[in-house]
Symmetry: C2
Amino acid sequence: METASQPGLRELKKQRIRDALLRAALELFLTQGYERTTVDEITAAVDVSQRTFFRYYAGKEEAVFFTHSVAASHFVDAVRARPRHEAPLEALRQAVLQGWDGIGETIEQIIPVELHLRTYQLIESTPALFAAHLRRSAEVEEEIARVIAEREGLDVDTDPRPRVAVAAFGGVMRVTERLWGTGEDISVAAIHELTVSHLDAVRPALAEKWRTGRGGTDPAAVE
Amino acid sequence: METASQPGLRELKKQRIRDALLRAALELFLTQGYERTTVDEITAAVDVSQRTFFRYYAGKEEAVFFTHSVAASHFVDAVRARPRHEAPLEALRQAVLQGWDGIGETIEQIIPVELHLRTYQLIESTPALFAAHLRRSAEVEEEIARVIAEREGLDVDTDPRPRVAVAAFGGVMRVTERLWGTGEDISVAAIHELTVSHLDAVRPALAEKWRTGRGGTDPAAVE
DNA sequence: AGGTTAGTGACAGCCGCTGACAATTGACAA
DNA sequence: TTGTCAATTGTCAGCGGCTGTCACTAACCT
C-alpha cells in the first residue's frame, strides 16, 4: 500500500517484472501478431513462470490495453477540467485533442510512445482486440456521459441528451481511430488532424442537404 | 449446392441439427448464463459430439449472434431500399424502425422471437458478448456507410460525411439498445419508442445551448 | 446393389486461464 | 546477524474452447 515513499526492494522487483512483461508482450504482439503469440513465449522472454504473467495481467488482452487505460482516465479528467461555459461537444472536442497532444508525457513514463501508438494498428487489425477496444470505449463513454450530465446539471436517467451526445461523439472518435490506425501515418499530428476534420464534419453530416457543403472542411455549414 | 429445389434427406438432417443446437445453446445461455454453459452441455442436450457443434458454429459466440446476422442484413437491405430523396439520417431512422417492427417475420422462421429478444439482455450483461456485438455493429456500419455514400454519389475515402453520419447514428443506436436491453421491458414497442426518442434527441444534444430545449421529447429544437 | 462422398464420432492436442500448495525471498525486529 | 512473518513465485493439475486427423457410417447416384 505504498505510493512513492519507500519503494522497497520488493516493490522495485515487482515493478521491473510488470514492466518487462509488458514490453515483451507488446513487442512480441507487434512482431508476430497477437494471436500467434503465446503467454509462454512472453514469460520465456522475461524468464518467469507462465503463472506469474497472469498474476500481473488478467490476460494477454489486459497487457495490450494497459497504457490505453491510463490515456482513458487522462481523457476523463480532461473533460472534467473543461470550463463550464463550453458546450458539451466543444468540451469533448478539446479534451480529446488535448489527450492526443499530451499522449507523450502521459505514456512515456511507462513505455516508449511509439510502442503505444503501434498498438492501435494491432488493435485495428486484430478482431478480438478491436472488439475489446470498443467495449472499453463504451465504458469510458458511460463515465463521460455522467460527467457531461453533471456539468449541465442534468440527470442521465431522465434526459437522453448526455448519453446521446457522448455516443454520437464516441462513434465519430472510433471511425477516426480506425481510419488512422489502418493508415500508414501513425503520428500524433495525423490523428490530431483527422480528429479535427471528422468533428468538423459532424454537423454537415447530420444535415438534410448534403449537396450544400462539400467535404469535411466546411466549418459553419447548416444551422 | 442446392437452395430450395430438393432439400434431400441429408440437407434436412443438417438443418435439424443446426436448429436444435441453436435452440439448445440459447436456452442454456439464457438460463445458466453464457460463460457457465459449456459446449459439452449443449451437445449433450442435442446428443451429438462436441466436434459437431464446431462444424455448425465457429464457437459459442456465433450461435448467440446467428439471428442477429439475419436482422443485420435485413437492416442493410432496408437502407438500400429507402427512397433517394430522404436525407441520410432520415433513411437510417426509417430503416431501423422498419427493422424492429418487422423483427417478428424476420426471425420467427428460425427461432421464437422472444428468444431472440432475450439475447439482447444476455449480450448486455455478458462483457465478452457485448464486445463481440460492438465489433459486429462496427462491421455493419462500415457497410452502411458505403451504401449511404453511394446514395449520395460520394466517395467514402474522400468525403468523411458518410462514415461520420453512420458512426454518430450507430453510437446512438447502441446506447439505445443498451438502455433497452438492461431494462425490464424487452418488447418491440419499447425499443421502437426508445429509438424514436433518442433519435429526436440527437440534434438538441449536439447543439450549443442545452438550456433551451428540455428533455428528448422536443421535436424541432435548434436549427 | 455398389461405388462415391458428405457428415459424424472419437481421439489427441494446443492454448488461455485458474486453483492449490510448496518453496523462496524480502521485510522487520530481537 | 539471525529468526520469524508475510509476500511472491514456481510447480502441478485441471477445465474449457477450439482444431486437426482419421476411421466409420449413412445418404446419394448410377
